[in-house]
């Protein structure tokens, strides 16, 4: 059976404060790595989808990416890659 691998990234919108990214940035400075202007922390989803990823299923996937995987009030999603599509 054919498989398609889809990678979705979710990031906080630029205007939303990211306290976790800020804390990681603080750790960089403490560990002696200077010059980090900003760190933003996000999420990466790797989906392995069985069968053909038709246009309809891709549209349904986009809907779920925009409702379940991200909260559009504070986050944006991006489909990073689609591999193995027929």
């Amino acid at each position: 059976m054919s498989e398609t691998r889809v990678v979705v990234e979710v990031m906080l919108k630029p205007e939303i404060l990211d306290p976790q990214g800020r804390a990681v940035k603080g750790a960089f400075a403490r560990l002696g790595f200077e010059g980090v202007a900003d760190i933003r922390q996000g999420k990466r989803f790797e989906l392995t989808i069985e069968g053909e990823l038709t246009a309809d299923r891709m549209a349904a996937l986009e809907t779920l990416a925009g409702t379940l995987l991200c909260n559009p009030v504070i986050e944006d999603y991006r489909i990073v890659s689609v591999e193995g599509a027929a």
Partner: protein
């Protein structure tokens, strides 16, 4: 039956029993609801309790929003049924788009647990009718992701329409925009609240009994709307 108030238990809910106890203390009949049931029994109002839900993976309340019980709760809420979401319940209401905005990690990144002074900003909701406007109360606040955020247009709209239900008094405990502790929908039947009134209904176990009017308010509102 206007005194039957449902309390949903999700996998990870902590405060469902205290919410049921608060309903009983106010004179209502708490009805236990299960997240996995698609049918909503005969209840006049619903409380989404605090704690956690589905591990709060993705975001707090993000998966709970799609729980089978939520479909009917959202539909009934849009028809005017009173719904109160406390803490994780507030997060679920925002994820469900019954309330605008979102709740994010506390700006200082620490979990917070303390008795918090809160000002009741409007009595024009199903859940705050028994307070007086401007009344200051002390109830527990305990959250890791209680920072209320929305864009400026939404915040201005909430303030202009009198939909800010409660604000934090003194130091902002979690970075919430405009010190917002709770909001309501346009109709005033859906209220989300980050602090916990259900833990402040009994002098033996709570800092005060200041939380009780949230639960008597809904019974009053339901009687008035019969």
């Amino acid at each position: 039956m206007t005194s039957r108030i449902g309390v949903v238990t999700y996998p990870g809910s902590l405060d469902d029993r205290d919410a049921a106890r608060a309903i009983r203390a106010a004179g209502g009949d708490p009805i236990a609801l299960w997240h996995g049931d698609a049918d909503l029994p005969d209840v006049a109002a619903v409380i989404l309790p605090g704690g956690f839900s589905y591990g709060d993976y993705l975001r707090c309340g993000a998966i709970a929003r799609f729980a089978p019980i939520m479909e009917q709760i959202v539909a009934r809420a849009n028809d005017g049924m009173p719904v109160l979401g406390i803490c994780n319940g507030f997060q679920i209401l925002c994820e469900s788009h019954l309330l605008p905005g979102a709740l994010t990690r506390n700006d200082h990144l620490h979990f917070i647990c303390r008795d918090q002074t809160v000002r009741i900003e409007t009595t024009n909701t199903a859940w705050t009718a028994d307070f007086s406007a401007g009344q200051e109360i002390v109830i527990p606040l305990k959250n890791g992701e209680g920072g209320y955020i929305a864009d400026d247009a939404t915040l201005n709209m909430l303030e202009a329409e009198g939909r800010v239900v409660a604000t934090y008094v003194g130091t902002n405990p979690n970075g919430s925009r405009r010190a917002i502790a709770g909001i309501t929908n346009a109709r005033g039947n859906v209220v989300g609240l980050m602090p916990h009134p259900e833990h402040a209904i009994d002098a033996l176990t709570g800092p005060t009994t200041d939380g009780l009017p949230f639960f008597t308010s809904v019974l009053t509102s339901l009687l008035a709307s019969r």
